[in-house]
């Protein structure tokens, strides 16, 4: 199983994540989609680290995981704060920045 399959997997996961981000209406679902996209990146990092025999990619992946956790924590906090105020987490209704 060469690099190609890993990259294809990462692309597939990324696409699924992007699909989730753009189509889910629930804010939690969108966060989950973002998680998938980031994990697609992680797959690439690890795969290329192995391919190039360099640990830098692994380190990056670890960093990404840590940051993802923080991001999800902040993201969920925002979602909860929005829910408290607006009584909804439907993304279609969160359009205060409309021009």
């Amino acid at each position: 199983m060469g690099l190609r399959m890993y990259v294809l997997l990462a692309a597939a996961v990324f696409a699924i994540g992007l699909f989730g981000v753009t189509t889910r209406r629930n804010a939690v679902g969108i966060l989950l989609g973002i998680e998938l996209m980031l994990n697609a990146v992680n797959i690439n990092f690890v795969a290329f680290a192995r391919y190039n025999a360099s640990v830098a990619g692994m380190v990056f992946a670890l960093f990404t995981i840590a940051i993802t956790v923080a991001e999800i924590a902040v993201g969920l906090a925002i979602v909860i704060a929005i829910f408290r105020v607006r009584k909804t987490v439907d993304a279609d209704h969160l359009d205060l920045l409309k021009g």
Binding site: V21, T22, K98
Partner: protein
């Protein structure tokens, strides 16, 4: 010499400065008048002193005015020659007499407006003298425009009269139209010869070194004289200019400023002589103007307007003489005409002053009420009609002789007919206003001495020049032997017509008018020329300006507004793209990235 000439020029200027910059003095009225009269009196004395000393050669003085890298571009200065000196004396004399006369004539004015009047008078005297002394075309243009300004200001002296305001503006516009030609001509002449200077130009003309093809240039320069000296078709402003005070009409619109065109043509005669076609045109237009104006004078009922048309007519005489290559004759007629026409106007002013109307139909038997005024008016009339031995006879004969000698048959005929008409319309005024049987209202009486003395001085000079001419036989330049008799006969015929029609009432004026039906009809309507000028102004200039104004506001600027309205509208539409939903933006980013990816694959 120079300092005397500068004194002639400078005294009125100093008076003007003083009056313009010291409002208390100006508003005092009488004080302003004294300053102005004293200045012009001094100027007259200096001019006489200059004139009496025989002049050996033309004196020219120049000072740089507009510098340029290689020598002055334009200079100002003095050009003193016999013609200029005679003109200086004429201008200062008439101006002095008119200013003295105005002292009494305008006694009803408020002090501030009297002060304003004398301020303008001083400025006019300065400008006219500067014009006479100009050593080059640019200085002539400068003062030419300044006398035009004074004319504008003085016609509009009673500026709250709508007619005066209209007449002032009309005069300025019409003369300015001629000046467009004058300026253009001067610029063209400069390009062709490299100088504005009379001395240099005359030297070139004398040596036949003038470049060829100057006809257009000289024609354009002549246009300036057409406007200023009221030649056809720009004569229309002069009769309207009679809205100004009568002394102003006497000074500016009879004796001096309107003669500036003739003066310019005589001054620049060597140049005109180099362009025979232009000279011919000048003669023809002059003769035609003389005749046209004379017919219009015959039907006018306003005494000042009769005199105004007669001025136009006589200016045509002068121009015809200049065009017939006899500048001396033109200038001689200019001088004599200046004196007797000023006399006529001032006398008419005394009449108006006494009876309070301009309309000759409301006057009558004034000779008995105003014997002095009547006498001097008669002297002026006889001179204008060309009766021996008054000055007008000799100058008119000189003009006719010149035109005859130049083999200008048709112009000569026109001028001869004009001579007849001149005598007729002038005696029409005399008979209607001074004799006749109609009793004027009120108790008119002769003018006070301040007004009468200037009249007598002018009358004496008119007679004196004539008598001198009779004694020395001066003025007739190889005239044909039959000419004096013919011109006297013409004048007598004119007087006879007037006598028969207006005094003896053997022929009724109405019958005469019927007999000359179409001509009378046209003359009364000023041949439609005023109406045509008004139509051109309203239709062409004003119509064009309305069009341009519309185009600018609604087309040129409209396009700009369309552009800005489009921008506003586009912004309004485009702002809907910003939905505020984060998912749409993610979608946009993803699609955009994809498109970039595809593009990078296609155009590798």
């Amino acid at each position: 010499m120079t300092s005397l000439a500068l004194a002639v020029l400078g005294l009125p200027f100093l008076a003007f400065l003083l009056l313009a910059l010291a409002p208390p003095l100006r508003r005092h009225g009488r004080g302003a008048a004294l300053v102005s009269i004293a200045a012009i009196g001094g100027s007259l004395a200096a001019a006489l002193r200059l004139w009496l000393v025989p002049l050996e050669a033309t004196v020219v003085r120049r000072w740089e005015w507009i510098p340029a890298e290689d020598g002055p571009l334009v200079s100002v200065g003095l050009y003193i020659d016999p013609v200029g000196l005679a003109m200086l004396v004429l201008v200062t004399l008439v101006a002095f007499l008119v200013q003295v006369y105005s002292w009494a004539y305008l006694e009803g004015e408020t002090p501030p407006s009297l002060g304003r009047y004398y301020t303008y008078q001083s400025l006019f005297a300065f400008s006219m003298l500067g014009l006479v002394l100009a050593p080059n075309f640019v200085q002539m243009l400068i003062f030419w425009e300044l006398v035009g300004l004074c004319s504008y200001l003085l016609i509009g002296f009673w500026y709250d009269r709508p007619a005066a305001a209209r007449a002032a503006v009309k005069a300025f516009w019409t003369t300015r139209l001629g000046d467009v030609g004058f300026v253009t001509g001067i610029v063209l002449l400069w390009r062709a010869t490299g100088t504005f200077d009379f001395t240099a130009l005359f030297a070139a003309a004398a040596a036949h070194r003038l470049p060829a093809g100057l006809s257009l240039t000289m024609f354009l320069i002549y246009l300036g004289a057409v406007g200023k000296s009221a030649q056809f078709p720009l004569h229309i402003w002069l009769p309207d200019a009679m809205e100004g005070p009568t002394p102003v009409s006497a000074l500016i619109h009879a004796a001096t400023m309107v003669a500036a065109g003739v003066f310019m043509v005589t001054r620049a005669f060597p140049l005109f002589a180099a362009t025979p076609p232009v000279l011919g045109l000048i003669a023809w237009v002059g003769a035609f103007t003389a005749l046209l104006a004379a017919t219009m004078a015959c039907v006018e009922t306003d005494i000042k307007r009769v005199l105004a048309y007669s001025t136009v007519s006589q200016l045509g005489y002068m121009m015809a003489a200049a065009g017939a290559a006899a500048p001396q004759a033109a200038f001689f007629h200019l001088v004599t005409h200046g004196l007797f026409k000023a006399l006529l106007f001032l006398a008419a002013g005394a009449v108006i002053h006494a009876v309070g109307t301009n309309d000759i139909r409301e006057m009558g038997r004034l000779f008995y009420a105003l014997p002095q005024t009547g006498t001097v008016f008669l002297v002026g009339t006889l001179a204008l009609s060309g009766i021996w031995p008054l000055s007008g006879f000799f100058s008119k004969e000189a003009v006719l002789a010149a035109v005859w000698n130049a083999r200008l048959g048709v112009p000569f005929a026109m001028l001869a007919l004009t001579a007849l008409l001149t005598a007729a319309y002038m005696f029409r005024v005399v008979f209607l206003a001074f004799f006749g049987d109609r009793q004027p209202g009120g108790h008119p009486h002769d003018a006070p001495a301040v007004m009468a003395v200037p009249l007598w001085i002018l009358a004496i000079l008119t007679v004196a020049i004539g008598v001198r001419g009779a004694l020395t036989g001066e003025g007739g330049q190889s005239a044909p032997r039959w000419l004096p008799a013919v011109s006297l006969a013409l004048a007598a015929a004119g007087i006879g017509v007037a006598l028969v029609t207006y005094q003896l009432r053997l022929v009724s004026p109405a019958a005469l008018a019927r007999a000359l039906g179409p001509l009378d009809f046209m003359a009364r309507r000023r041949y439609g020329l005023d109406a045509a000028a008004a139509a051109v102004y309203r239709g062409l200039v004003f119509g064009l300006s309305r069009l341009i104004g519309w185009v600018d506001r609604y087309l040129v600027d409209g396009l700009v507004n369309v552009l800005s309205a489009w921008t506003l509208r586009a912004g309004d539409r485009l702002r809907r793209i910003q939905t505020g939903r984060a998912q749409d933006y993610v979608y946009g980013i993803a699609v955009g990235f994809l498109l970039l990816l595809i593009a990078s694959q296609i155009w590798r």
